[in-house]
Symmetry: C2
Subunit: 202 residues, 2 copies
Amino acid sequence: MKIYETKTAPNPRRVRMFLAEKGINVEYVQVDIQKGENLSAEMRAKNPLGKIPILELDDGTCIAETDAICTYFEALQPEPPLMGTTPVEKATISMWQRQVEFAFMMQIGMCFQHTTGYFKDRMTPVPEYGKEAGINATKYLNILERRLGVKEYIAGDTFSIADITALCAMDFARVVKIRMTDDHVNLARWYESVSNRASAKA
Amino acid sequence: MKIYETKTAPNPRRVRMFLAEKGINVEYVQVDIQKGENLSAEMRAKNPLGKIPILELDDGTCIAETDAICTYFEALQPEPPLMGTTPVEKATISMWQRQVEFAFMMQIGMCFQHTTGYFKDRMTPVPEYGKEAGINATKYLNILERRLGVKEYIAGDTFSIADITALCAMDFARVVKIRMTDDHVNLARWYESVSNRASAKA
């Protein structure tokens, strides 16, 4: 199997970190998204949306979407669990994973795409919307701060896929100058802890 | 347990349809989102993002996010499986579920919110972005058309949560006048089939 990815992009980092936590090694194939290599007919045959990362299995089956790739490996090798084991754990982790994705990571991505025009060859940037998305992402830092005041990790007492998503989003947020402030003491404690995991360097 | 929802909104319909497929009955509590009842301190204590649906368990644990609620019930009662059983099935369904959500349902939602100003008391509508989101959603109909030309259902040969999401999105898309055209013959075949399931009336 192999994974098509772009080393510097935030979503591929989520997959690499997830696999590092599981101790799984996979071959990576680099795709230059700035040049639009991901939009070729060959890549669109693997993922109709023309996005990376994509996991390609030995029989040619392709799985796109970061969370779906992680779902595959969680089912294949449940230990250590990063998506929960009981129904309530699974649901709680899924809830935080999605909220961190939608209300934080995606808002950062929209802020980046719509204010910088990085992908203006393939989309119509609307800077006013990009600015709103940045405001939304900044507000979400306060929700994370409150949550991490009562729990060690985002989805509860153990490290999960939601922490991986939040860390990769926070590091990516620097490109649009969205950062913690001195008021985010719990978030800073958590950030220090998850950044120091070996998997964060994957 | 109970579910806080708004009967007319598209995400609660996804949960009701999922539970109808499983034959699970749950008490529903109506929340008026137009009046902003979902934004009260009481509701934000259940879900910091102030959105519905929310599943509240008997011990007070709250699970927000449609997909997380479905994840809970899939783990609690795996039959009939709507999120896959093998690693490849789980990953394939997760991929389509997410792509239908991000590239279709969410685009329809953004088109609705940003072009109509329905929630302008709680967000800043950017009509130009709403228009772009509508264009994105319309393009995705062609991806669904091609997929349903080779598979009976969106994620493969069996009905799954991705079909529920796509059906609820398509029906909601009428509010922003996004509809199939006569060229979408495979999509029309699928739409007729899933609309006629008993669960579609839930």
